[in-house]
Symmetry: C2
Amino acid sequence: MAGAVIKEFPRKSGKAAPKNVREHILQVAEELIVQYGSNGFSYQHIADRVGIRKASIHHHFPTKNDLILVLGQMKADAFFAQMNSIMVGKGSAAEKLELYFNLFEENFIRGCGASISFFGMLGAEFGSQDDRVATRVRLFFSENISRLTALIEEGRKEGSLHFPGEPELTAVAIFSMLEGAMIIVRASGDWERYGEIIAQVRRLIVSP
Amino acid sequence: MAGAVIKEFPRKSGKAAPKNVREHILQVAEELIVQYGSNGFSYQHIADRVGIRKASIHHHFPTKNDLILVLGQMKADAFFAQMNSIMVGKGSAAEKLELYFNLFEENFIRGCGASISFFGMLGAEFGSQDDRVATRVRLFFSENISRLTALIEEGRKEGSLHFPGEPELTAVAIFSMLEGAMIIVRASGDWERYGEIIAQVRRLIVSP
DNA sequence: GTCTATAATTGGATAGAC
DNA sequence: GTCTATCCAATTATAGAC
């Protein structure tokens, strides 16, 4: 990319300092992708922030796509590990849905306070992604939706969740809202808003 | 951009052939932005599709930001003109909301059948936008939300719409869903899905 | 208005010394 | 593992002929 200015945003980072260079590269790459997109950052940007030369990055990740793919796999693994621990835990489906919402909110806030989620960004840029990355993004979305579908279906059976229509379409609608709201909220600059929107989604699904 | 391959998607274009070069450039630029993002296309890509040299594009739009800004203004004007004619028309708020949904669906389908909306894309890439473009995007979102808020508030008063919580948060939630669903649906490749998701949103807002 | 030519810069990636 | 040096292609943009 050429025109874009890489500006600093205030970070509310709760992230641990990277132990080694490879980890540091991955962390910085995630920040850059989440803020500027996969077409909006370069190895030079990473090098500047990590404090190495861009040639050194190629040693760890031969191509930019390799880097994005490794990062995508890591992010997906971490997310679904958290999601799994929610699903196998105790509590009603409504309570589990609440924890799932929290997962998104944390992801949003932690991601630089000025970001949309990692996969939300790659999803928007879907048309210009490498095939392997595109597959990874598609899988992230479809896995979220299928697990969310199972959850709210359970909630309807046990009576803790109430919604009209099919569980699967409802799940897609919820997931779309969580992803879409990140874009809307970021443009408004009012980060507090995200939590309030989630609260509204909760009202639409749980209370009726 | 470097890695991305500019692939052809099947177009369901209902768009008139451009009358002059300037218009043609704008039309092609919109297609490219909607598919690959504002960081994912270049003047060279436009030149190839329009059949002119890239230097010629600079005569019409000195910089890339100028082009994006002009396009953004045009798209916003056209969208709000349509939205206005819906709002001042006859019918219940529920019926007007329906027409608003249709506006999004048309926008999605017409935009190459493989796109997310123009402002949805710029919103995702918000962090790397020029200030003027960022302002334009922010305005598009906030105007949508304020008008949508007024509409559903009216619907609640007249009894044609039913939803829990505040009208404004509900409007943000709806708008977020409409934008977010474009990303999710595109990644899945199942375009028909968009209409079904909108139907589900309708059920969540209208039926209870 | 469009072209050729070209400048100036950045981007992704490699070779080989240390 | 990191560096310098370098390559080549792409990108944004301008100058000036037609």
